[in-house]
């Protein structure tokens, strides 16, 4: 199995390299990046070949590519890969708007390639386990979710995360897609209405996009959810952030915290340096220099990224649809776009 990276803009590219390296029979052909300096640094960091452009990379005939560019490049790179007949694992969000996401899904369908959206929470063992129990009817009928996906502001060397053009937005587009996808997956139904409210009080002088946000979703059956998706975690927070939710049913409630399996480490500023596991969604901890003085949470739970990457490879091998599809990515982008429209309109928006 030959795989390659298209861009190293996203911090997850680093995590995915170590995931791939632990899988036998996987060969990483190399990386191309429109930011040559960034691409070369990535290539040398992991001892990979660097290609001057994407065509040269695709000419190596990889079986699949991992697209870990800035969000706004997903469409161009996906279309290129699809044209070359190469399978795609695309970082979330699938695109910065519904039009681009639709184009990506269509291109993959027409090229008959496999398109998977990188939603690692589908592979989180606690998240998956609770869904299994819900589908088996052990938890009662869902009534609503009360959810949180909050983190620290992405660090300065990943400044594109806070660039409205490159990222497609701020805290909403970065965070909402994860939980929106989990909830769609739990309920097996779509979101029909979205309300959102935002502000820019956290890091007001550093960035121009929303840093505080709350989004309310309503599903077809009437089940609703709120997602607090803010970049609210101060630099002293013990980790990059987290993802958790209460699922309320007619039998009671279940609390799921996907990143709670942590050791708490006090008073060892060097303890977290370089030892952060690849599983963390964004390991900003070492990037925030002032974050090392307080207690740190060191994650010891299972690695969702590893299982997600393995699913991509297995789906290619077995020539089947992956557990997470391009359509799933598209639905999440629809929800995000409706959220941004709701902020403009000051009212809920139907999808």
């Amino acid at each position: 199995m030959k795989l390659a990276f298209m861009s190293a803009a996203h911090v997850h590219a680093d995590a995915y390299v170590s995931c791939l390296k632990s899988i036998p029979d996987v060969e990483i052909l190399g990386i191309a990046d429109h930011d040559a300096e960034r691409g070369k640094a990535f290539a040398s960091r992991y001892g990979l070949p660097f290609f001057e452009n994407y065509d040269a990379l695709l000419a190596q005939k990889p079986d699949g590519v991992l697209i870990t560019s800035e969000n706004s490049y997903h469409k161009a790179l996906s279309l290129k890969a699809a044209e070359a007949g190469v399978h795609i694992l695309c970082e979330k969000p699938l695109a910065t708007n519904v039009k681009d996401a639709t184009a990506i899904v269509r291109a993959a369908r027409e090229a008959k390639i496999l398109l998977m959206t990188a939603f690692p929470m589908r592979f989180s063992v606690p998240v998956r386990g609770v869904r299994d129990e819900l589908l088996q009817g052990k938890l009662g009928n869902p009534l609503c979710f009360n959810a949180s996906n909050q983190g620290q502001l992405p660090p300065k060397d990943r400044a594109w995360f806070t660039d409205p053009v490159l990222a497609g937005g701020g805290a909403i587009i970065d965070h909402v897609v994860h939980l929106a996808d989990v909830m769609r997956w739990y309920l097996g139904m779509e979101v029909v209405e979205v309300y959102a409210a935002t502000n820019r009080i956290f890091h007001a002088h550093e960035v121009k996009i929303e840093t505080g946000a709350m989004v309310s979703l309503q599903f077809e059956s009437g089940v609703f959810a709120t997602i607090n998706c803010s970049w609210s975690r101060p630099s002293t927070w013990p980790s990059w952030g987290g993802l958790s939710f209460d699922l309320i049913t007619d039998r009671g409630a279940v609390h799921v915290d996907a990143f709670k399996q942590n050791l708490t480490v006090f008073g060892a500023p060097s303890a977290h340096q370089g030892s952060a596991p690849a599983t963390e969604d964004h390991d900003w901890s070492s990037a925030h220099g002032d974050g090392g003085s307080g207690p740190r949470w060191l994650y010891w739970g299972s690695d969702s990224n590893q299982m997600m990457i393995e699913e991509f490879i297995t789906a290619i091998h077995e020539r089947r649809t992956p557990l997470v599809t391009g359509e799933d990515g598209l639905h999440a982008v629809q929800i995000v776009e409706a959220a941004y429209r709701s902020i403009q309109a000051g009212r809920p928006i139907r999808i």
């Binding site: 009534l143 609503c144 009360n146 949180s148 209405e193 309300y195 409210a197 935002t198 502000n199 009080i201 956290f202 890091h203 007001a204 840093t211 505080g212 946000a213 709350m214 309310s216 309503q218 059956s221 009437g222 609703f224 959810a225 709120t226 607090n228 803010s230 609210s232 975690r233 101060p234 002293t236 927070w237 309320i248 007619d250 009671g252 409630a253 000051g346 009212r347 809920p348």
Partner: protein, 335 residues
């Protein structure tokens, strides 16, 4: 100072226990049916009355702990008779009723206290003082949770009758509407969802409300009558541009009991489990008593009670219509 207490359920009983620790004299009780006031009146050496008029005649202060739909009529009657009024939260069922009560008290020149007891819980008071002191900078987002089971009553469970209690958004979540406003200031927009809006027969209820404050801050309030007894859990997370404050009653509970269960029964209304030397209810009534004696302002004033009611009523309207409700900026007090 003679106190007359209306209602002898959980809250009337709790207030009686708090008044007796002040210098005030509990003169009488009123209950429906009147005979229900007899045991508690006997315990406190007070008289059971059978009409509001008789109770008012015998007292200086009327403490209203009756079901919410009765507050407006009782409070205005007491005020017009020149009696000071203590009113359990929520102040009333509707904003119009609430305004009528404030107007009646103003005209009669009597004091009105709305018993938003959560302001007297030390974890909330400490968080508010930290925010006031600028410890977390400017508040950007805040979340408040109040998670419990459906209130029970031996008979006539008025909590479950929205015509009488206003349901979960008014009866339970008004606590945190008041706190959210206390922390982040006036509210300009309210968006709410609740389970009973789409599932009328649901055995449990859950509300989620997003508030936009005039400052730009966002608050999320969740309230549950959905957990199995004896869960009563509160929590908040207030995030500012300079830090974050977090509270979780369960994580901070100093006592953890792990005993094999006998035939355990949950209380009628779930209560916080962190023991304190001074109960927040005692602190609240003591504050009201002090204000009555000295003419000072309480920690939570009548205008705060009305402002919380306006938020709750907007939330009910939002949950009913599916719209975000805009609130006109209101002037409020409190400290």
């Amino acid at each position: 100072m003679k106190i007359g207490i209306i209602g002898t359920g959980f809250m009337g009983t709790t207030h009686a226990g708090a008044w007796v620790k002040t210098g005030a004299n509990i003169a009488g009780f009123l209950a429906d049916p009147p005979s229900e006031a007899e045991p508690i009146a006997k315990r406190y050496g007070a008289k059971p009355y059978s009409t509001l008029a008789e109770l008012i005649q015998a007292t200086d202060v009327v403490d209203i702990c009756s079901p919410t739909h009765l507050h407006a009529q009782m409070a205005t009657t007491a005020a017009k008779a020149g009696r000071h009024v203590v009113c359990e939260k929520p102040l009333a069922l509707t904003v119009a009723q609430g305004e009528t009560i404030l107007e009646a008290c103003r005209e009669a020149n009597v004091k009105l206290f709305v018993a938003h007891v959560v302001r007297y819980f030390p974890e909330y008071a400490l968080a508010a003082s930290q925010v006031r002191a600028g410890k977390i900078g400017k508040v950007a987002t805040a979340e408040y949770r109040r998670l419990s089971y459906r209130p029970k009553k031996p008979v006539g469970n008025w909590f479950l009758d929205e015509e009488k209690s206003g349901g979960i958004l008014l009866d339970l979540m008004i606590h945190d509407f008041d706190i959210a406003r206390w922390i982040a200031g006036e509210v300009v927009s309210v968006y709410a969802k609740k389970v009973s809006s789409f599932n009328k027969d649901s055995p449990s209820d859950y509300g989620q409300v997003i508030l936009i404050h005039a400052s730009g801050a966002l608050s999320h309030i969740s309230g549950a009558w959905a957990y199995p007894p004896p869960v009563f859990r509160t929590g908040f997370e207030i995030a500012g541009d300079g830090g974050l404050i977090r509270h979780d009653s369960e994580a901070e509970s100093p006592i953890e009991v792990s005993l094999r269960q006998g035939k355990g029964e949950a209380p009628d209304v779930g209560l916080p489990a962190s023991p304190l030397a001074e109960s927040p209810y005692d602190l609240e009534i003591a504050d009201f008593y002090r204000c009555l004696q000295k003419g000072t302002d309480p920690l939570v004033c009548a205008e705060d009670g009305l402002a919380a009611l306006k938020i709750a009523c907007a939330a009910m309207e939002s949950a009913r219509t599916g719209k975000a409700i805009t609130l006109l900026q209101q002037k409020g007090g409190g400290r």
